[in-house]
């Protein structure tokens, strides 16, 4: 119960344990623990990592919090302290509200669909490939595609002239106009984001499935005739730690890591397109030069995500069984 989901899900995965074995083959015998004569030496080794964390995480965070209380002159001539005005502006703006609504909708759709489809594929693949490593590697390699590339490929699918998905929609009598029609764009964003995330979920679900002991499955085979019952009563609960971990990761993905996809799809398009809060932070800050307002939005975002994560851990993790 006290273990983090990472620590408990990862060692189970067949794939991950192999990675781990590969990794630990390079590490010297753990029994021979290195002892440092001087207490400063270990800190010296930690320094690069600490520097990275401080420079790229803490420092910008502090900057964001500070600048969220100022209005910056668009031409760079100093800044004025405005207290919480940036926050009230953001929170009362109707545009912000509609972006927040879309972000929530987007998160639910992307997380739900990519988890659902990932699980479905993993269950089907698990039936076929118990142990066939090459097959698994092929399925997994899709994940190596970088998000902007995924966005570009996705854009091609949805292209108004050559996109096969546009053609498909046309076949069913719908004129799909991504980048122009609000809901068509939303559909494209969700589709590409889900498509990009499925392999990741698939890998984890698959290794989670493969770590369910064969004999437990066989015992279930004797106890219950219906495959659906066995899945719900035995497989799914044993998969819960993996699912919980993926839920956290997927929500974070939908909130933040979809940025490049959104960028590729809506950049240089007419204004009325669905975007997420993160993209709005970028638009307002870098395109609109409203550093103060965009900082306030990013602070709000940080708070929301922190709250969400705490909630997940408090309420969901308790229900999750860690074998």
């Amino acid at each position: 119960m006290t273990d983090s989901p990472l620590r408990t899900t990862l060692p189970n995965g067949a794939l991950l344990s192999r990675l781990r074995a590969w990794y630990s083959a390079d590490t010297p015998n753990p029994a021979k623990r290195v002892q440092f004569d001087r207490p400063l030496t270990p800190w010296l080794f930690l320094l690069p990592q600490l520097a990275v964390v401080v420079i790229f995480f803490y420092w910008p965070s502090v900057q964001a919090v500070t600048s969220s209380f100022y209005i910056e002159d668009p031409f760079g001539f100093g800044s004025t302290f405005v207290g919480t005005e940036n926050y009230t502006d953001a929170l009362t703006s109707s545009q912000y509200a509609s972006t927040a609504m879309f972000t929530a909708f987007f998160c639910v759709m992307v997380t739900g669909l990519s988890l659902g489809i990932g699980l479905l594929l993993a269950v089907k693949a698990d039936k076929v490939i118990r142990g066939a490593a090459t097959y698994k590697t092929l399925l997994i390699s899709v994940y190596a595609i970088a998000p902007p590339v995924a966005g570009l490929i996705g854009m091609m699918f949805f292209d108004m002239h050559i996109g096969p998905l546009t053609d498909l929609a046309a076949f069913f009598g719908h004129d799909l106009r991504v980048g122009i029609n609000y809901w068509d764009t939303a559909f494209a964003l969700i589709t590409i984001s889900v498509w990009k995330q499925i392999p990741y979920n698939f890998i984890f679900f698959l290794s989670g499935l493969q770590s369910v002991p064969v004999s437990v499955r066989e015992a279930a085979l004797i106890d219950a005739q219906s495959g659906w019952r066995r899945f719900c009563d035995v497989t799914l609960p044993l998969l819960a730690p993996t699912a919980f971990f993926l839920l956290v990761i997927n929500i974070t993905y939908a909130m933040f890591d979809t940025f490049p996809i959104i960028d590729v799809v809506v950049k240089d398009k007419p204004a009325n397109n669905p975007i997420t809060l993160v993209y709005k932070v970028y638009l307002d800050g870098f395109k609109g030069n409203d550093i103060g307002g965009s900082s306030a939005q990013s602070v709000i975002l940080m708070v929301v995500v922190a709250a969400l994560t705490v909630l997940q851990f408090r309420f969901l993790e308790r229900r999750v069984h860690y074998g």
């Binding site: 004999s215 066989e218 015992a219 085979l221």
Partner: protein
């Protein structure tokens, strides 16, 4: 409760060029306790899992009661299985583990409660009913696995080396418990083990398997007294029966030049089987050079050589045994096997007297 019959049952794994088991014929009476025994890889688990429905049957016919079950799902076969690693559902409490199979078969709440309570009383699991398996010791998990089988009241129990993960002492007590339980419930049982002691003590009838084929079927004592082949002879009984190259000439069996007994009209080379417990260190008999002695407390096993051949003798005496000793043989307890086929040869001994050489 039902009888079980395997008729000409065989299995070739996909990709395997040789059957894992073949030509198995066993008729198991209602309530009988059958133990499948044999060395690793001889196909015991395969056979058991075919009865359970966890492996497909590629040849022959398996009946449970009057039903041919070859194509039925495991859940439809009315069997319960106890696995070597227990295979408990880690996310369910002990109670739910036992109830799960009944629940899926649509048993009423009252029936489930009653059977779970009864099983937990029999197995002394009462205090653990609300625990998860991970909070139990190995022995307790083993009991839960038994409980899960018992509550179902199936036509047959199938056990695949259920005790091999327990320590020696617990194994002995669980062994007796399983036997008592099975007697009391009268459920037909098929039990796989490679431990010949377990096999001897549990079985109504033993089935000795070798490379996927039945070597011998019979009551434990019958198999012990009359092993059908050198394979069975060396597998059943501890220490293993010594198998020696001997020769029959003029109706007399000779070992390394020493005449042991008069035997009917046979001639030529023969494999002679001698059980350590049928031999004694004595004043007179075969000369043996002692190699080493295993001290077991109540008795000791003396390993030695006669000529170039090794022999084990059980000695219960007090005196130290070393160097050259003499071994007395009861001529009624000789086992003879064909040197090429390894099959048992029934000898007609003419004179029944202890030979003094």
């Amino acid at each position: 409760m039902a009888h079980l019959s395997l008729r000409n049952v065989g299995k070739t794994y996909a990709g395997g060029n040789q059957p894992a088991v073949c030509g198995i014929n066993i008729e198991i009476a209602d309530g009988e306790f059958i133990v499948l025994v044999g060395p690793s890889g001889c196909g015991k688990s395969t056979l058991l899992r075919m009865v359970a429905g966890l492996e497909t049957t590629t040849d022959g016919e398996i009946r449970i009661g009057e039903r041919v079950v070859n194509t039925l799902d495991p859940a439809e076969r009315d069997i319960a299985m106890v696995f070597q690693n227990y295979a408990l559902y880690p996310h369910m409490t002990v109670r739910d583990n036992m109830a799960y199979g009944l629940k899926n078969r649509g048993a009423s709440k009252a029936t489930i409660t009653e059977r779970v309570n009864e099983a937990s009383r029999m197995l002394e699991l009462g205090p653990y009913l609300d625990r998860k398996p991970r909070a139990l010791s190995g022995g307790q998990r083993q009991r839960v696995a038994m409980g899960r089988a018992i509550v179902r009241q199936p036509a047959a129990f199938l056990f695949d080396e259920p005790l091999s993960n327990l320590d020696a002492k617990l194994r002995v007590s669980m062994r007796m418990e399983i036997r008592k339980l099975q007697k009391r419930l009268g459920t037909t049982s098929l039990y796989v083990t490679h431990d010949q002691l377990e096999a001897m003590t549990l079985a109504d009838r033993l089935v000795v398997l070798n490379q996927g084929k039945i070597e011998q079927i019979g009551a434990p004592l019958e198999i012990y007294r009359k092993p059908a082949s050198t394979f069975v002879a060396s597998f059943i009984g501890a220490p293993a029966m010594s198998l020696l190259d001997a020769f029959i000439e003029n109706g007399a069996i000779t070992l390394e030049g020493h005449v042991l007994a008069q035997i009917g009209n046979m001639a030529g080379p023969v494999t002679l089987g001698l059980r350590a417990e049928d031999l004694r260190i004595a004043k007179e008999g075969l000369p043996m050079m002692v190699e080493h002695v295993e001290e077991l407390g109540a008795q000791r096993i003396v390993h030695g050589t006669i000529g170039a051949q090794t022999l084990a003798v059980i000695d219960t005496g007090e005196a130290a045994v070393q160097g050259a000793v003499r071994v007395a043989i009861d001529p009624d307890r000789l086992h003879l096997f064909d040197t090429t086929t390894g099959q048992r040869i029934e000898s007609k001994r003419q004179t029944a007297r202890e030979l003094a050489l």
